[in-house]
Symmetry: C2
Subunit: 244 residues, 2 copies
Amino acid sequence: MSGLSKNKIKWIRSLQLKKNRDDLGLFLVEGEKMVAEAMRDFPDVIEEVYSTTEMNSQKFSKNVELISETELAQISTLKTPNKSLAILRKAKNKESIKSKGLILALDGVQDPGNMGTILRTADWFGIDTVVCSEDTADIYNPKVIQASMGSMLRMNVIYTSLEHYLATCELPIYGALLEGENVYHRSLEKVGVLVMGNEGKGIRSNIKPYINTPIHIPGFGKAESLNVAVATGILLSEFKRSEG
Amino acid sequence: MSGLSKNKIKWIRSLQLKKNRDDLGLFLVEGEKMVAEAMRDFPDVIEEVYSTTEMNSQKFSKNVELISETELAQISTLKTPNKSLAILRKAKNKESIKSKGLILALDGVQDPGNMGTILRTADWFGIDTVVCSEDTADIYNPKVIQASMGSMLRMNVIYTSLEHYLATCELPIYGALLEGENVYHRSLEKVGVLVMGNEGKGIRSNIKPYINTPIHIPGFGKAESLNVAVATGILLSEFKRSEG
């Protein structure tokens, strides 16, 4: 056990900030299960692995550096650190937005927990492409990664001008809007874009004109709205249920 | 502005702990919107209201105590305190479990954010009764209340031996289980119980034998599971969609 230098600890901790992740092109993945998955499925993008426990993967040829619980606590972003932490290289700019199925578009989703849960849910329903407005929560935020349960590693998530993307998009564009059609009453195309809006404000006024099919989930009780991750799950389920 | 005494601050803060909430039969509701809703809809159970801004309700006859931002920060459980805080009396033991529609049952849901989101979602779908195992997250936990967006105030939430309840229950009992039937392929009764399990472990082995209809949401991608609040939303949507 070699021990982590103060500088190393400081450097790893610096990746908790978006600015440093952007500058260095690196991000953190934590937890034994998620790190093991990354070693198995994405060995080529892993720069370093630190762990309090032995970890092996046939596909991962670099060293796993054994560290103490105390050292892990110093570099972890979690309240309850969980054995392993890896440093991964961010994907290069993925400029092309193409998918053979449904594309999810997010207009300013803010909460990292919601963002991660949305990615996990989209992955469950086989969505491979998510287009985000520039101000949507960063997928490389540790809380997003944690809530996504690793799904963010498998998905093509693009941050761009959502307005520009939708303006040039030739697919049917669905959007979750209170004034939309009852989603239970209409058929949904297999190929298209589903736009979900911000937690408090919904879909912004500059995006609304591009939505050719507004849809909504009817309410039966007194709650004023649904959580955005739950609403995304219900709508994706509606898109997929005829194939299920 | 009279100023809050140190003892008063300490007493209010003590309600952040379940033990003290249970002993005193009181709990905290925060945020201008939720406190205003409580003053409008449940004035009789409000003991005290503290606010940095004037608040009025025709139905609420007690004093709203004006406090400073600094005082609010001292009594608030929120990172970003939001104008108002109220102290409410917990409902008396609600022993009878009766509902004319679907009942939701929770077997050890742990995360307060998930618990609150589940209550908000259930309220949206018109569920009025939620039966919880004793170890399910406390509805009076400030994080549950916040995530429920006030829905917990409107619902009948009962903590009991879930096993005993299900053993004596004569309704059809559905449960979210990986080995369950594809929920898209079967018709669902309007009256019954839907059991959802713990985030990591699912439904426990002592509860499983009571489930006469295991159901599951088919996956299309690589995610191993859905978040429990998202899964609850999708299943409740399936129960309700024929009425929507």
